[in-house]
């Protein structure tokens, strides 16, 4: 069974955006984790620093649910 989630790719991850849009709906399979979603989008895992689901920081092992809003961030730098 597939579920619909909303994905947003932040900053330097925009280059992996589908059809050039940083924010897009995505169909995933039931039981899909954030880690699986990163793989589905073809993003090397090291390119992702952290993720939020529904604006809360969460580990990549979290299983996604229908309607979740996922935001992926690249690793951060200092200055």
């Amino acid at each position: 069974m597939s579920l619909g989630v909303q994905v947003k790719l932040n900053a330097l991850l925009r280059k992996y955006a589908l059809e050039g849009k940083a924010e897009f709906p995505l169909q995933i399979t039931e039981g899909c984790t954030i880690e699986d979603l990163i793989a589905q989008l073809g993003i090397p895992p090291s390119q992702v620093g952290f993720a939020t689901v529904n604006l809360k920081y969460t580990p990549r092992s979290r299983t996604l649910e229908k309607g979740d809003q996922v935001i992926l961030f690249p690793p951060l730098t200092g200055g």
């Binding site: 900053a11 330097l12 939020t52 604006l55 920081y57 690249p74 690793p75 951060l76 730098t77 200055g79």
Partner: protein, 606 residues
């Protein structure tokens, strides 16, 4: 003698115009490695407590480390040390550029200044000789003009220079020295100390090779390290080699890492247009990459603004901290104005973090009705008004009009303005906070809240709260190099590198002891000044009291008392008094003066 060091230090008494050369104390170098380690040891031993930071007794040091000038990639850091006029505490600040390498090749591991010169002077250190030169003709020149004049009169384009602009000359408490035009050891207000001493610049030129213990082994290690590190800095995110530190600005804003609107807001909700001052938007202005000497990452860049009110042919690419302070903190997405403000700060010698944060303070005061447009010289200090931001930066740099009120940072500005404005001055012990929110970092294992509040230099983000991290910092390797080395070569491999350079075998435990000594002696400096734990507190807004209701940091509050207590206990420091335990000091060794001062009936100090 230890290898990997120039083997000599300079002590300059500016009141008497005397220069004294001393051999590097080998035991000190083994115990404290270099940079802020040696800087803290020298100043702690030779300076009494409670001196006026802008008076003749304050010692100002420029210190290198053992990995500087020995062909170790990223070994370029200059550390500036002294009692900070901004915080009244121990102050250290560091930067890239070519000065440290050149000073070492000129024959000196460090140079320390005391006294006050009657007239402006420059110290010229070249191949084993040092002398003071008159600098009346350079006073009032900006840092770029000063460098150009010095290169011309010395007839050598290859000199490396640390100088101050008029902000330092006028002892602005947020003034900093500038190295090689674009590199700012920005924190702690040590540019004001240079100005107070009438020390316009230090110039170095050297051709001597620094001896290393095992050149062949060093070459092998550095080659292997570079292979491992090059993928890391070139292609792994955040793509330091491509963007420098500006690559993560938008991500930092959206994630809650970067403070927004004087720390009163957070995330995309408040600053939607952060991408206009981040990554591709910034390098669109870049005309060429730039680097510290011999650096493979080349994280710096030269930018050009072709036209408009902020047109400029050549300026430094703004770093992340500058983009945060002049951008997110002020809700300013006009990148060209940020490039201009960065340029002004480089020319006049000002810390971009402190200037941006002080303007954020002024904008919030204006919003709250504590400052009128008339008091602000007619400027409309609305959030995001880039014209007013630029005008205020220039006024602060020149110490003119309303800039006089702001030129010594947010804490002093709040004291001058009164009317309850102190509630909007976001600083710790006088130092404006850097562009990383501890509410974001601390829960993710990056203990910035603890660092801001417990490091001897309050409010610094490029410091380590761990002993091994302090040892890394003392080598002279820059932050990007340290990070890449730890990630791609291995955090326990530093000992191998130091063995090849110095000939000294540092076990992981010994490196931690080096870091432990550095932490303790800097702490002892502050204790001697009479500071205690309650003196160091971040504003409630910064620690999340009350927490944000929305955004990525919603509901996050830091219990700083508990975090600091836990940190001190892990360090074997007393959480009530801040004192490192006697047992710890004895076990670390090399801290006899500190033990005497803290536990043995001190006769030194005040």
């Amino acid at each position: 003698m230890l290898q990997g060091y120039a083997g000599r230090m300079l002590f300059v008494d500016l009141s008497r115009g005397k220069i004294q050369e001393e051999p590097l104390d080998v035991e000190m170098a083994r115990n404290f490695l270099g940079n802020y380690g040696i800087g803290a040891k020298v100043i702690y031993d030779r300076q009494k407590g409670h001196v006026d930071p802008l008076g003749p007794e304050n010692t100002l040091g420029f210190v290198t480390g053992p990995l500087v000038g020995v062909r170790v990639p990223f070994g370029i850091r200059t550390v500036v040390v002294g009692k900070s006029p901004l915080t009244g505490t121990w102050g250290d600040t560091s930067s890239g550029g070519g000065f440290a390498r050149e000073l070492k090749k000129a024959g000196y591991d460090a140079v320390f200044f005391t006294g006050i010169s009657e007239k402006p002077v420059v110290l010229w250190a070249s191949d084993g000789q040092a002398k003071l030169r008159p600098a009346d003709h350079l006073w009032r020149l900006d840092t770029t003009q000063t460098e150009e004049a010095l290169r011309k009169e010395l007839g050598d384009r290859r000199v490396h220079i640390v100088s101050i602009g008029s902000a330092g000359e006028k002892c602005s408490l947020i003034a900093c020295p500038i190295i090689d035009q674009y590199h700012a050891p920005g924190r702690s207000g040590l540019g004001a100390v240079m100005g107070s001493k009438r020390l316009k610049a230090v110039v170095a030129r050297g051709t001597q090779e620094i001896p290393v213990a095992d050149g062949e082994r060093l070459q092998k290690i550095t080659r292997q390290a570079m292979q491992a590190m090059s993928a890391h800095i070139r292609s792994d995110p955040p793509e330091i080699s491509k963007y420098g530190t500006c690559g993560g600005t938008a991500a930092s804003v959206f994630s809650g890492d970067c403070p927004v609107k004087n720390w009163a807001g957070v995330g995309e909700e408040v600053f939607k247009t952060a991408e206009r001052i981040s990554d591709e938007s910034v390098i669109a202005y870049q005309v060429r990459k730039d680097s510290c000497p011999g650096c493979p990452a080349a994280c710096n860049g030269i930018v050009r603004v072709e036209s408009g009110p902020y047109a400029i042919q050549k300026a430094a690419k703004p770093e992340y901290e500058t983009l945060g302070a002049f951008g997110a903190m002020l809700l300013n997405d006009n990148l060209e104005s940020i490039i201009w403000c960065n340029h002004i700060c480089d020319r006049y010698g000002l810390d971009t973090i402190s200037v941006g944060c002080t303007i954020a303070f002024a904008m919030e005061c204006y919003e709250k009705g504590l400052i009128t447009q008339r008091e602000a010289d007619g400027l409309d200090l609305r959030w995001g008004n880039h014209g007013a931001i630029v005008a205020l930066t220039e006024k602060m740099a020149r110490r003119e009009g309303f800039g006089v009120v702001l030129a010594d940072g947010a804490k002093v500005a709040a004291e001058r303005i009164g009317r309850g404005s102190g509630a909007y001055a976001m600083h710790i012990h006088g130092q404006e906070l850097p562009m990383h929110d501890p509410k974001f970092a601390q829960p993710r294992g990056w203990p910035l809240g603890v660092a801001y509040q417990t490091d001897a230099t309050p409010g610094r983000h490029t410091v380590s709260t761990e002993d091994l991290g302090r040892a890394y910092n003392a080598t002279g390797m820059c932050d990007i190099g340290q990070w890449s080395f730890r990630e791609s070569v291995g955090r326990d491999k530093l000992g191998e590198l130091l063995l090849a350079v110095t000939g000294v075998e540092y076990s992981p435990e010994e490196l931690k002891a080096v870091g432990g000594r550095i932490g303790c002696i800097r702490q002892a400096f502050n204790l001697r000044e009479g500071f205690s734990p309650p003196d160091f507190r971040m504003p409630d807004r910064v620690t999340g009291h009350p927490p944000f209701q929305t955004g990525p940091l919603a509901g996050v509050s830091l219990d700083m008392d508990a975090l600091v207590r836990e940190h001190f206990q892990s360090m074997e420091w007393d959480p009530e008094t801040d004192r490192p335990s006697r047992e710890l000091l004895e076990r670390l060794g090399g801290l006899e003066e500190v033990i005497t001062d803290l536990y043995g009936g001190c006769e030194r100090g005040d």
